[in-house]
C-alpha cells in the first residue's frame, strides 16, 4: 500500500479501523480531539459505532461493556481524562478484557496545559487505578510507529485479554508524517466465544464478566493468575530500540518524541567525536530492563531525558542496579528539551563534571 500523509491523531483512527476496531467511546479533550472527530466521521462508513459519552468515566465503562460483549473497542483521551478512566481501567484489567486506550499526554498536574508532555508515565506504568494490575504501555516516537503499535496493540490486548495503552504526547498527535498500514506480526489469538456475554441462546451456561472475588482464597488465586499472565507479557512483549550501547561512553535513555530530539543531539555529538548510545523503550511496561545489561561497562553515566521532572528515571535506576551513575534532564509544561541542552549535559557527564 502506498504511503499517505496523515496527522498523528487521525492516523490512530485509520489504524484502528484497519485493525478491525468498530467501536469508539470518548469525550473531547485537547490535544486529541481530532481522533474522536475522525471516528465520528469514519466509523459509520464501515458499520461501526462512534458514541460521545457524557464523561471519560462513562466512556471507559462503555468500553468495559463493549469489550465484555466481544467487540474490538477503544477509547482515547488526554491526561485529565485518563485520570477519570482509571476506575474503569482497573475493572477491565481485573475482569481480563481486551481494549485499547490512547493517551495523548498534556502538561499537569491538574488542568495543567494543553502542551505536549510525558507526565503520565507513573500513572500509565504503575497503575493509576486500584489493585495489583498491569496495562501494556506502548510509546511510539513517530507517526508510522504510532500506526504500527495501534494495529499490534489490538492483537496484544486480545492475545492476553488485557488493556493496552498507547502513551503518546500532544506532539505526536499533532504532527503530520507519511504512513503506511502494514500487517502486524502473526499471532495466535484465542477465541472469545467461551467468555463473552452475548446471550446464552439457550445453548450454554451463562457467562459472567466480573472482578469481584469475596473469598480471600479466590481473590488471591485470581491475582496469582494475573501475575502469571503479566510474567508471560514481560517475557514475550518487550520492545526497545537501542543504538551503540556496547561502545558508548554515555548512554541516553528517552522514549516517545523526546527520543527524536535525543537522536539529533547524538548525531551532533558523534560529529564532534563523542561516543553516545541510546536506549529507547518502546514498551514502557513491560520495561526493557535487560537492555541496560548490554551497556559498555566503562560507560561514564546514563542520562535520562524526559518531558517531565523525572519519572522513567525510576525505571532506569532499577535497570542500572547501581552499575552506573544516572543523571536526568527534563523540561515540563510544554517546554521541550533542546538538542543543545542535551549535548551540554552529555559533555559534562563525559568530562566528569556532574
Amino acid at each position: 500500500m502506498a504511503k499517505v500523509l496523515m496527522k498523528g491523531n487521525e492516523a490512530v483512527g485509520a489504524a484502528a479501523i484497519e485493525a478491525g476496531c468498530r467501536y469508539f467511546f470518548g469525550y473531547p479533550i485537547t490535544p486529541q480531539s481530532e481522533l474522536p472527530e475522525y471516528m465520528a466521521r469514519e466509523l459509520p462508513k464501515v458499520g461501526g459505532v462512534f458514541l460521545q459519552a457524557e464523561s471519560e468515566i462513562a466512556a471507559i465503562n462503555m468500553v468495559y461493556g463493549a469489550a465484555g460483549a466481544g467487540a474490538r473497542v477503544m477509547t482515547s483521551s488526554s491526561s485529565p481524562g485518563i485520570s477519570l478512566k482509571q476506575e474503569g481501567i482497573s475493572y477491565i484489567a481485573g475482569a481480563e478484557l481486551p481494549c485499547l486506550i490512547v493517551n495523548m499526554m498534556r502538561g499537569g498536574p491538574g488542568l495543567g496545559s494543553i502542551q505536549p508532555s510525558q507526565t503520565d508515565y507513573f500513572q500509565a506504568t504503575r497503575g493509576g487505578g486500584n489493585g495489583d494490575y498491569r496495562v501494556v504501555v506502548l510509546a511510539p516516537s513517530n507517526v508510522q510507529e504510532l500506526v504500527d503499535l495501534i494495529i499490534e496493540g489490538f492483537d496484544i490486548a486480545d492475545q492476553y485479554r488485557n488493556p493496552v495503552m498507547i502513551l503518546g504526547d500532544g506532539m505526536i498527535g499533532q504532527m503530520m508524517e507519511p504512513v503506511e498500514f502494514k500487517k502486524p506480526k502473526q499471532r495466535e489469538l484465542p477465541p472469545k466465544d467461551d467468555w463473552i456475554t452475548n446471550g446464552t441462546k439457550g445453548k450454554r451456561k451463562p457467562h459472567i464478566i466480573n472482578s469481584l472475588y469475596l473469598a480471600p482464597e479466590e481473590l488471591e488465586a485470581h491475582n496469582i493468575k494475573l501475575q502469571e499472565k503479566y510474567r508471560k507479557i514481560r517475557e514475550n512483549e518487550v520492545k526497545v530500540e537501542s543504538y551503540n550501547i556496547e561502545d558508548a561512553d554515555v548512554v541516553i535513555a528517552a522514549y516517545g518524541t523526546t527520543a527524536r530530539i535525543v537522536k539529533t543531539a547524538i548525531s551532533q555529538l558523534e560529529r564532534e567525536g563523542y561516543k553516545v548510545g541510546l536506549i529507547r523503550p518502546i514498551t514502557l511496561w513491560p520495561y526493557p530492563y535487560d537492555e541496560f545489561k548490554k551497556i559498555n561497562p566503562q560507560c561514564k553515566g546514563i542520562l535520562t531525558v524526559e518531558m517531565n521532572t523525572g519519572q522513567m528515571l525510576d525505571d532506569v535506576k532499577i535497570a542500572v542496579e547501581g552499575r552506573f551513575p544516572v543523571y536526568f534532564h527534563g523540561r515540563t509544561g510544554g517546554m521541550v528539551p533542546t538538542p543543545n541542552e542535551i549535548i551540554e549535559k552529555v559533555k559534562r557527564i563525559h568530562g566528569g563534571e556532574m
Binding site: Y23, F25, V49, L51, A53, E54, S55, I57, A58, A59, N61, M62, V63, Y64, G65, A66, A67, G68, A69, G70, A71, V73, E87, G88, Y91, A95, T197, N198, G199, T200, K201, G202, P206, H207, I208, I209, N210, S211, L212
Partner: protein, 248 residues
C-alpha cells in the same frame, strides 16, 4: 394436580445472600419471570451494580456483567451498542443510581439508550451498613445522619422517577413497590411493560421499586413493610409517569 407455582428458569438454583425479609429477593424473581415470560432470557445480558445486589450475577440465569458503582448504565450502553438485538438490563440500588451514578443514568435515558433499568430504592445504603442515601427521607436516621436527615444540611431526598420522566429519551417510567401481593402483581406488570419498550425498540425504560431494608432500618420485616407504606409512599408516589404514546 395443576401446577400453581413454579420457580422461574430466570433464576439460578443458588441460594441468595439477602437478609430475611429483604424485598430484593422478590424483585429478583419478578425480573427473572419477566425475562422468561417475554422469551428474552436466552438473549439477555444483565448488568449488576455495586450494592447489596452486587451478587445478582450469581442469581440471574443469563449472561451477566458486573459494573463499577453507579456505572451500570454506561456498561449496558457499551453492550447494547455492540449487540443491538440482545436484551440488556441493569439492576441498581439508590446509592448506585441516584448518587454516584446519576450522570450515567441521566445520560443513558437522555440518549434513549434501548436498555431497561430496575431501580431498587430502599432509602439507604444497605450494603455498606446503613449510611444516608440521596433517597433517605427527611428525619430518617442513618449511620451518617445519626439525628435523622436534616433538610437544611443536605436537602430533600431525590425523586429519580419524576426527574427521569422529564427526559425525552426515557419512554417508560413507573414507580411500584412489592409490599403486598397486589403490589407485587402490579410491579410485575410494570416490569414486563418496561421490558417490552426495549424489545420493541422504543427507547429507555425504568421501573423504580420501593424496597425494604429491615436490617439497616432496624425493624422486623413486617415493621419494615408498614414503615415503607406509611413513610415512603407518601413521598414517592406510586404510579406510571410515562409510557410510549398509544400504549395503555
Amino acid at each position: 394436580m395443576a401446577i400453581v407455582f413454579e420457580k422461574t428458569k430466570g433464576l439460578t438454583d443458588v441460594q441468595t445472600h439477602y437478609c430475611p425479609g429483604c424485598t430484593h429477593g422478590i424483585i429478583h424473581r419478578l425480573v427473572a419471570e419477566a425475562l422468561e415470560e417475554l422469551g428474552v432470557l436466552d438473549k439477555a445480558i444483565g448488568v449488576a451494580p455495586v450494592g447489596c445486589s452486587v451478587l445478582a450475577y450469581k442469581y440471574f440465569n443469563c449472561d451477566m456483567h458486573e459494573a463499577a458503582h453507579g456505572r451500570a448504565p454506561a456498561v449496558a450502553t457499551g453492550i447494547k451498542r455492540v449487540l443491538p438485538d440482545n436484551f440488556v438490563f441493569t439492576y441498581q440500588g439508590d446509592g448506585d443510581l441516584a448518587s454516584i451514578g446519576t450522570a450515567e443514568i441521566v445520560h443513558a435515558a437522555h440518549r434513549g439508550e434501548k436498555i431497561s433499568t430496575i431501580f431498587v430504592n430502599n432509602a439507604i445504603y444497605g450494603m455498606t451498613g446503613g449510611q444516608m442515601a440521596p433517597t433517605t427521607l427527611v428525619g430518617q436516621k442513618a449511620t451518617t445522619a445519626p439525628f435523622g436527615r436534616d433538610e437544611a444540611h443536605c436537602g430533600k431526598p431525590i425523586r429519580m422517577s419524576e426527574l427521569l420522566a422529564t427526559i425525552d429519551g426515557a419512554k417508560f417510567v413507573e414507580r411500584v413497590t412489592v409490599i403486598s401481593p397486589a403490589h407485587v402483581r402490579k410491579a410485575k406488570k410494570a416490569i414486563k411493560e418496561c421490558f417490552k419498550v426495549q424489545i420493541e425498540g422504543k427507547g429507555f425504560g425504568i421501573v423504580e421499586v420501593l424496597s425494604t431494608c429491615p436490617t439497616n432500618w432496624g425493624m422486623t420485616p413486617t415493621e419494615a413493610l408498614k414503615w415503607l407504606e406509611e413513610n415512603m409512599i407518601p413521598y414517592y408516589p406510586l404510579g406510571n409517569f410515562k409510557r410510549p404514546e398509544g400504549v395503555e
